[in-house]
């Protein structure tokens, strides 16, 4: 028989103003098993907690009901208080008579009756509670960072500087990510390379960071502290251990292809690096364009390589890493041509996207930083920038705001004026969103000092006429139609998650939203965590982010990892599923419903008479189970139960609530 104590809080007048607290206290005293019942003005205060502690000791209580606010508010408070007084913290239940009762019902009699019911259900629940101990699991103090852009690099550096090993997986042959493609950055107009490349070098030479280039994460098993990650590395056809980075091969390679890094505006060789500052500065062979790999001819690179590093036989490499935490920093893509038929993107060479414009501005880009239009290499005298290309457009594009476009378009117009002083930039926009330190001032400078002409309205059509790109639109502020014969059109295409991000989300068991951005565990209070313990987010994987935000995010995620790694063992919430092996028939229906792959088959050895027999039963991995309880519903034998939310407890609550007080019968 339990010895239960009920503590009813008045919460000042928050509860007592609507609920007759004394009546609830008296009614609770009459419930079998309740040996102590009292009320107090503020149960969460120190004197209130002392009341509870004293009662636990004096009345030898082995179960507590605190009738007060929502468990979201103070469950931890009272569990800790119980623990300090020597009671198992899981022997405490909250009866939420504030948020769910006194604050939402006007009639005092009804509210008091409901509060009594809520307390009775909590007493019945705690009566069936069992003391629980958190399980302790070891952890591997090594982190995996997926994505080598600015966010991934920052996370890797912070974790490595904290003294833990990091594996940084990058799908390309160089780290740097999107930021490496940028020319200058808003609002300071710092050259992106100048602030990025030193960081790239720092990552590469950090003794605690191991780079896995041209690689992808293909499988993830395990749980927080103990992940096993499969990494698949595409062949580079160059032995990077031998290669000295002389780039003679790139010099001599006869095969050229459009450079993806330059958004197709420039050419690269079939063997070589994406850009001269690539880190690691090692070439790869693009197999689709290599004459030797395609046709068995050429092979010049192999012949001239002074260290015999070219290896046409190289195969895909697959290996596993044991890590304790994972940071996802896969960054973003932009909407492609299929979304912008009306803007002529993909049809006219002089309609480009903003990333291509960045390459035109970059001194390491295809035009060495001179703005030339792709069709004929002329310097454009009139440039139209179209903002919200695909953003804030739920019908055809994306419903969300891509957030960074207002600022980079202002930057683009500014850079254009600096480079082409007699040119004119026109910007079609919906709204200017320049929230950020120095951002609004930057946009104003683009307008006032650099002559950007902002036109509020949408573009209806873009077509080619007499070597010009004609942009037809409307200026809704002036109320007139506008037609501009432009030399170059730049689309601020919507920011989207990286291609493949959704598949990776499934591998990681992290939920993504309808657009494919990963969900934070809490959008405000846990912005770098996911609901999967041990998996964290950094940068644009969770939504459009600018560089400072991505870096802040990345450091935040790294701090979370460092906090995790500061433990030698992890404590696991004990409210998890458990199998009653005597009841389990081994049907294993629970296995496919588990979203976390936490249930496995186990051979149970039993002695029947003088013989040993084995039979299969389900077993729950305490490290993986998150306590959703799906398995307990699927179980046909009633063998699977969820600690803290057992079938018996929930049914007892049902019974208690159906005996509502104040009912006419």
């Amino acid at each position: 028989m339990r010895r239960i104590g009920v503590f009813v809080c008045s919460c000042g007048l928050n509860i007592a103003g609507r609920v007759d607290v004394q009546k609830v206290t008296d009614a609770a005293a009459g419930i079998p098993g309740v040996v102590h019942s009292e009320n107090y003005k503020y149960m969460c205060s120190e004197p209130g907690q002392n009341l509870i502690a004293d009662a636990i000791r004096q009345k030898r209580l082995d179960g507590l009901v605190v009738a007060a606010c929502s468990p979201a508010m103070h469950e931890l408070t009272f569990r800790s208080a119980a623990k300090l007084a020597g009671l198992n913290p899981y022997m405490v239940q909250m009866a939420n008579i504030r948020e769910h009762c006194s604050w939402v019902h006007r009639d005092e009699e009804q509210a008091t009756a409901k509060a009594t019911d809520i307390v009775r259900a909590a007493v019945e629940k705690v009566r069936r509670d069992q003391p629980l101990e958190p399980t302790r699991i070891p952890l591997t103090k090594k982190a995996l960072v997926i994505g080598g852009g600015i966010a991934g690099m920052q996370s890797a550096l912070d974790i490595a500087d904290a003294g833990y090993d990091v594996v940084l997986v990058e799908k390309d042959a160089t780290i740097g990510g999107r930021m490496a493609q940028l020319s200058e950055t808003f609002p300071t107009l710092d050259c992106a390379s100048c602030i990025l490349t030193p960081k790239m070098a720092e990552v590469a030479r950090h003794p605690r960071i191991q780079l896995a280039m041209c690689s992808r994460v293909t499988q993830v098993a395990g749980y927080v502290g103990n992940f096993t990650v499969q990494i698949t590395q595409a062949p580079t056809y160059v032995d990077w251990e031998k290669c000295i980075g002389c780039m003679d091969c790139q010099e001599r390679c006869p095969s050229r292809l459009p450079s993806e890094f330059d958004r197709g505006l420039g050419k690269r060789k079939a063997i070589g690096v994406d850009f001269p500052q690539a880190v690691p500065n090692r070439p790869v062979i693009k197999a689709d364009h290599c004459l030797y790999l395609q046709k068995g001819r050429c092979g010049i690179c192999e012949k001239i390589c002074p260290v015999e590093a070219v290896d046409f036989q190289q195969q895909e490499k697959v290996w596993e890493e044991e890590v304790g935490a994972i940071i996802v920093a896969t960054g973003f893509d932009v909407l492609g041509a299929e979304a912008f038929a009306e803007y002529g993107y993909g049809q006219y060479p002089d309609v480009i996207d903003s990333l291509a414009y960045e390459r035109l501005n970059s001194s390491s880009g295809p035009t060495e930083g001179v703005i030339r239009r792709p069709s004929d290499g002329e310097i454009p005298k009139e440039v139209v920038f179209i903002q919200c290309a695909g953003s804030r457009d739920p019908d055809k594009g994306k419903a969300y705001c891509s957030k960074i476009c207002c600022m980079y378009t202002a930057k683009h117009a500014t850079l254009y004026r600096h480079k082409v002083p007699d040119g004119q930039a026109y910007i079609f926009y919906m709204d200017i969103r320049a929230g950020g330190k120095g951002y609004e001032e930057f946009v104003q400078r683009a307008v006032e000092q650099d002559g950007a002409l902002y036109l509020r309205g949408r573009v209806s059509r873009v077509y080619e006429e007499d070597g010009k790109i004609v942009v037809k639109g409307v200026d809704t502020l002036a109320g007139e139609n506008i037609e501009i014969a432009a030399d170059l059109v730049v689309l601020a295409s919507a920011v989207t998650p990286r291609t493949g991000a959704r598949e990776l989300a499934q591998v990681l068991k992290v939920p993504a939203d309808q657009d494919g951005f990963y969900n934070e565990a809490h959008p405000k209070l846990r912005p770098v965590e996911t609901v999967t313990a041990g998996v964290y987010l950094a940068g644009a994987v969770a939504g459009p982010r600018d560089i400072p935000e991505a870096v802040a995010n990345a450091s935040g995620a790294a701090a979370k990892v460092a906090v995790l790694f500061s433990n030698d063992e992890l404590e696991n919430e004990p409210l998890i599923a458990a199998v009653d092996e005597s009841k389990c028939s081994g049907c294993l229906w629970c296995v496919p419903v588990c979203p976390f792959d936490a249930i496995e088959e186990k051979e149970l050895i039993e002695r029947v008479g003088s013989k040993e027999v084995t039979r299969p039963v389900a077993t729950v991995n305490a490290g993986l189970c998150q306590g959703c309880g799906a398995c307990s519903v699927a179980c046909r034998d009633g063998a699977m139960n969820l600690k803290g939310f057992t079938n018996e407890q929930i049914l007892a609550e049902v019974e208690a609530l159906c005996l509502m007080t104040g009912s006419p019968e």
């Binding site: 929502s70 468990p71 979201a72 939420n96 504030r98 948020e99 769910h100 009762c101 604050w103 939402v104 019902h105 006007r106 009639d107 009804q110 509210a111 009756a113 409901k114 019911d117 809520i118 259900a121 068991k509 939920p511 939203d513 309808q514 969900n519 609901v531 409210l575 419903v593 979203p595 976390f596 998150q626 306590g627 959703c628 309880g629 799906a630 307990s632 519903v633 969820l642 939310f645 079938n647 929930i650 049914l651 609550e653 049902v654 019974e655 609530l657 159906c658 005996l659 509502m660 009912s663 006419p664």
Partner: protein, 140 residues
């Protein structure tokens, strides 16, 4: 039945979304009928149909199962089980002769306090029209 008869409604509320949504209704001091009693569960996918049947047998006039919107489940896919499971249970209950208004499955997020209050109001009004659950109540 007296005119001030109020139905008793038992709700199974997922702790991440609907329970928090009901908390929000409280924080915002929304006013809704005192007919509802919540049982906190980790996930709407934890709600065994036998819990629902037991509530009706013990005299609940209405039952609500409520959780996160599909796609928002804290446990990735628990509410998808709920959706499938309870589209069947709902039909079963109707087949047994229960009025459909007595049993509802709702997606109410932690931000939807107003929606929680609205659902309680609607259910209370609908069930008040129907009167007490006589169909499945056990005669004790």
């Amino acid at each position: 039945m007296s005119h001030d008869w109020q139905p008793r409604i038992v709700a199974f509320a997922c702790r991440w979304c609907t329970y928090a949504g009901a908390d929000l209704a409280g924080t915002r001091r929304m006013d809704y009928p005192a007919s509802i009693r919540l049982i906190r569960v980790p996930c709407s996918g934890r709600v065994n149909p036998s819990f629902v049947v037991r509530a009706f047998q013990r005299g609940a006039d209405g039952v609500l199962v409520a959780g996160c919107h599909p796609g928002d489940c804290h446990y990735i896919e628990g509410n998808l089980f709920t959706r499938r499971r309870y589209s069947l249970v709902k039909r079963l209950l109707e087949y047994l002769g229960m009025e459909p208004e007595r049993f509802r499955v709702e997606w109410i997020s932690a931000a939807e306090g107003a929606r929680f209050a609205q659902v309680v109001k609607e259910m209370t009004e609908d069930i008040s029209q129907l009167g007490p659950n006589a169909k499945m109540r056990e005669q004790l």
